[in-house]
Assembly symmetry: C3
């Protein structure tokens, strides 16, 4: 059995090692990778492939760019932990698709408030640079900040990753 | 009475929950909100209004975009804590007004070195992205970094906030 | 003698006080400053000069913009600690010179895996803002993230600095 708490948020900057750290939380037992990213261009396809090779066998993969909360609700099981990678790509997809961010976030938090099995979610910290020049950039940053705050409030454990090293922000597991 | 230390700096990225965290440090007793932001456009007006509604009654508000140190010096009282939100907007105002940043910062540090009552200051971390493309952007980032370092050196407690969760950087209270 | 561990990485945002913190780790004994930056313009020259004045006497300086690993390997001695400032400038130099980043990083990690004397390395966190708009910006951020992760994995101690205040991310010294 897995020692993962019911819910964990792994937060970090770009190339902080947050995905590798999140994966390291999983043991050898079968796990599900719930991917929000889509290989729309070569740069992205390369990253997805790199992550897939690193995880290796034992993982099954499900792709869901938009309806993450429902997908997560459907796949959570006590005996198989889920890795959601990542909330930043999910948010980006929602914005491009014109979805109501607050409603989607409400639904995700609802699912996370009573998880049916262990789940680890990865998200980016994007608010520690200068104010973005475009209103779209500012909107994205604002939404991402709210996503991180609200998901962090639901999760039992929150870990900040920098240079591949974890810093525990919250642990009530 | 309030358990706040004489001086606290709350540092965090945009939409990190730093203002809400800072407000949570205050009890039910009357407090003063010393605002450096001005409602110059709709986006800003909305944010100010959102913050005001969250704080609720019991708070009085004073707006001072530029002469923060003197304003703070005037209003500090042992029985009424002050929340300064935020140093980033103050810095932005000073730069637009062509003020001498170092002198203004010296004066603020002087006031903070012997506070007449509890004060909590909120500031942004803005230096964890790529190098800004414009020299104005670089200058802002440099000034903000110096403001944060020097105010942190004066404060008894310094808290870093990410995803709404506090991380104590300094506590000599 | 110096209480420095064999290897320390000091990580922080721009103007976070990371260089000053790194310097504070050195005692009064002679030390070597291994500079990766070059005074190519006035802004940069001013910064280099500011850092030099702060360090004062007792420090010797060596400049090496590109072949950092070899330079470090040559100068490490048990009785004289080295400060490398900084890996971000080194990375920028390597990219401008068209060097093979991964190979240079492999070599640096090799040198750091068995240091002949205490070394402290300074590096920037650059991945906590929005996604850079240019592919060069994204490439830089990706490389910097990898540099930080791999050097952090080699170092005995890793310290994150914000507002001049240290947060220990790793300590196996």
């Amino acid at each position: 059995m897995n020692a993962l708490p019911p819910s964990t948020l792994v937060l970090g900057g770009a190339r902080s090692g947050k995905s590798a750290y999140a994966e390291s939380l999983f043991g050898e037992a079968p796990a599900l990778y719930l991917a929000t990213g889509q290989a729309l261009d070569g740069e992205m396809a390369e990253r997805i492939d790199h992550h897939r090779r690193r995880r290796g066998a034992g993982w099954s993969t499900l792709e869901e760019p938009l309806d993450l909360a429902d997908a997560l609700d459907n796949v959570m099981r006590p005996d198989r932990p889920v890795l959601v990678d990542c909330l930043t790509m999910w948010l980006s997809n929602l914005m491009h698709a014109g979805r109501d961010i607050d409603r989607c976030l409400d639904r995700l938090c609802e699912v996370l408030s009573a998880p049916n099995g262990p789940v680890v979610l990865v998200s980016n910290e994007v608010g520690m640079g200068l104010v973005p020049e475009t209103s779209l950039g500012r909107a994205f940053r604002d939404h991402q900040g709210r996503v991180n705050q609200r998901v962090a409030a639901q999760c039992r454990r929150v870990v900040f990753v920098a240079a591949g090293l974890p810093l525990i922000l919250k642990d009530v597991s």
